[in-house]
């Protein structure tokens, strides 16, 4: 049976490790993956009028991140039946709960030690998920703290 899983990301390659390890530990059934990115809505009226999530998401995807997603899709060709990125704007527990219900999410995976690096206009969903749900699953992976640079690099996905 297909499972829907929800994973918060920050459009950096490293945050995709949650997905990688979540799928590695799964039993191999197909998944519908929803990557979620949380940011505040603009309050300018023109921005709201011409609001299009597709173009917003497209502007955030770096070539490195795109490559990393492709690598994962190739690696888990059978397990990732569908992969989509969603924007989330409601910084409330109820909003998040409703999102989870609407998308019929079966499981939520969050990183245990990795901190999402959110810019000023965005907010960290991991803490809200921790506060809202009790049945989320935490994923941890070895992080190269000494070599952590500000630059996003594809090698952060290849880290075993």
């Amino acid at each position: 049976m297909q499972k829907t899983i929800l994973i918060p990301i920050d459009f950096r390659v490293a945050s995709l490790n949650t997905l990688k390890f979540a799928l590695e530990s799964s039993t191999g059934e197909p998944h519908k993956v929803i990557l979620i990115y949380a940011e505040f809505l603009d309050d300018s009226i023109t921005e709201l009028l011409f609001y299009r999530p597709e173009s917003k998401i497209a502007s955030k995807i770096t070539p490195e991140f795109k490559n990393a997603m492709e690598v994962l899709r190739n690696r888990f060709e059978y397990q990732i039946a569908d992969l989509e990125i969603k924007l989330f704007h409601n910084r409330s527990r109820r909003g998040l709960r409703r999102f989870v219900e609407n998308h019929q999410v079966d499981a939520i995976y969050i990183p245990k030690t990795y901190r999402l690096k959110m810019p000023k206009k965005a907010f960290d969903l991991v803490t809200i998920i921790r506060q809202t749900f009790s049945d989320f699953q935490e994923i941890d992976w070895p992080q190269d703290l000494g070599n952590a640079s500000e630059k996003d690099h594809l090698q952060y996905l290849f880290n075993q």
Partner: protein
């Protein structure tokens, strides 16, 4: 002809051509229209005139006259003629009595309607029958429109045309000169740059137009040329040093041996040393030759479809034989499920050489600490990562690592000539791949190699 003059001339010619066409068109069509219109007016007057002069509609004849006098504007030099055609009087006589052109009367008799022009005087008429007699009703008048308005229009058009020609010529010359100013400036600047002053750069204008793009392209080119210059200089000094060292050793050994008579063992020893140095020299020249061959694209190299993971295993086996202490770990956790995504177009020997060089370096400069090799694939590329925990490369020296014979400052304790990495990069370039080295001194080096996926027919 200079581009500048070309632009000016073609602008002027096109503009004047279009303008001429426009002016002549206006004049011609208005002229045609005004004639047609004026003849129609004359004919209407001739019809009405005939009606009241001949009292065709006797009840309304007076009314017609009134209407005509009250509502139809009197034309300039308007004259009405009603001519009764009778067999006794010839047309020529009629024409001379009424001072009318003969051809008009002939046409009228023949067709029933006729038009005639004599200078600015226009004639229009109709033929009609009344009480068993044939009449010709003719009205003649001067067309004020043709004589005054059209001439006025022609003058306006002519003067306007002249004015615009002058303006166009001036503007074309001005703009063609002005547009090329930055280019001329750039030419002057580029002329100043020679091999001695290759560090000079062009000024890039702030606004983002073609000129600034050209300037930045020039600057990029100069940057590359400068780097190539530097590389060349480095290469020559490094190469001569590398080649001179074994040669000096050989000469020194031979010199010392020849000072006096020696025992056969001593000669053997000297010859052995000479042989070692000569072998080293041979090694260097061979690898130089190989480097030159891979850098030169004229030679045909046979490509075949290869699986990247197989390549890695083969290279690992090779290194296991040469250096049994190595700890190369191949990570397959991101290996794509579809093996097609691992296939690349390449030459097996060359790729072996490149990968062996890189893996060997990783093992060598990390004192056989674990080296991890990761394989993954995106939609278009196979990605290889080779990470070691070795001595790394100082950040300031990273730009030079692809220069032949260059060796980082912290590699004095390791053997090598500095040809392996440039060679690997040349080979990867031959395969349209990219090689990316990131490193930090004392914490390790990570090499990323991307190869484009082979396009397989499905």
């Amino acid at each position: 002809m200079k581009t500048q003059t070309k632009i000016a001339v073609s602008l002027v010619v096109f503009n004047i051509g279009l303008l001429l066409l426009f002016g002549i068109g206006i004049y011609f069509f208005l002229n045609e229209y005004s004639y047609v219109d004026f003849y129609k007016r004359l004919e209407t007057r001739a019809t009405i005139g005939a009606k009241y002069n001949l009292k065709i509609d006797s009840a309304n004849a007076e009314a017609f006259k009134k209407v005509r006098e009250q509502h139809l504007e009197k034309l300039e030099a308007e004259k009405e003629h009603i001519i009764k055609i009778s067999p006794e009087v010839s047309l020529e006589q009629q024409a001379s009595t009424y001072h009318l052109p003969l051809s008009l009367l002939q046409d009228l008799l023949k067709d029933g309607r006729a038009r005639y022009q004599e200078g600015s005087k226009f004639y229009g008429g109709i033929k009609l029958r009344h009480n068993n007699a044939t009449y010709l009703s003719i009205v003649s008048a001067n067309s004020r429109f043709v004589s005054h308005h059209l001439t006025f229009l022609r003058n306006i058009l002519l003067w306007g045309f002249l004015f615009i020609v002058v303006v166009t010529v001036y503007l074309s010359i001005y703009f063609s000169k002005h547009f090329f100013d930055p280019i001329r400036e750039m030419i002057d600047k580029v002329k100043q740059i020679s091999t001695e002053s290759i560090h000079l750069r062009l000024k890039e204008p702030e606004n983002n137009n073609e000129i600034s793009e050209l300037a930045s392209t020039f600057n990029d080119l100069l940057n590359r040329i400068e780097t190539a210059f530097e590389t060349q200089k480095n290469f020559i000094s490094n190469a001569s040093h590398e080649l001179a060292t074994p040669l000096t050793a050989i000469m020194g050994e031979a010199d010392v041996a020849l000072i006096k008579e020696r025992k056969p063992e001593e000669y053997q020893n000297v010859l052995h040393n000479v042989l070692t140095q000569a072998e080293r020299l041979n090694q260097i020249t061979k690898s130089l030759l190989f480097l030159a061959q891979t850098g030169y694209k004229g030679k045909k190299i046979v490509f075949e479809i290869l699986r990247t993971d197989e390549l890695i295993w083969e290279v690992k086996e090779l290194i296991d034989r040469l250096n049994p202490d190595n700890k190369i770990l191949v990570d397959l956790s991101l290996l794509p499920e579809d093996p097609k995504k691992l296939k690349i177009n390449g030459n097996r020997q060359l790729l072996h050489l490149a990968l062996a060089n890189i893996l060997n370096n990783a093992c060598k400069y990390s004192h056989n600490k674990p080296v991890s090799v990761h394989i993954g694939a995106s939609q278009e590329q196979v990605l290889l990562f080779i990470k070691d925990q070795g001595i790394g490369i100082p950040e300031s020296e990273l730009p030079f690592i692809y220069d032949p014979f260059f060796r980082a400052s912290n590699t004095r304790l390791f053997e090598g000539y500095g040809i392996g990495l440039p060679l690997a990069r040349n080979i990867i370039k031959l395969h349209n791949g990219t090689l990316l080295v990131t490193s930090k001194a004392n914490s390790g080096t990570s090499v990323q190699i991307n190869f484009p996926l082979a396009k397989l027919i499905k």
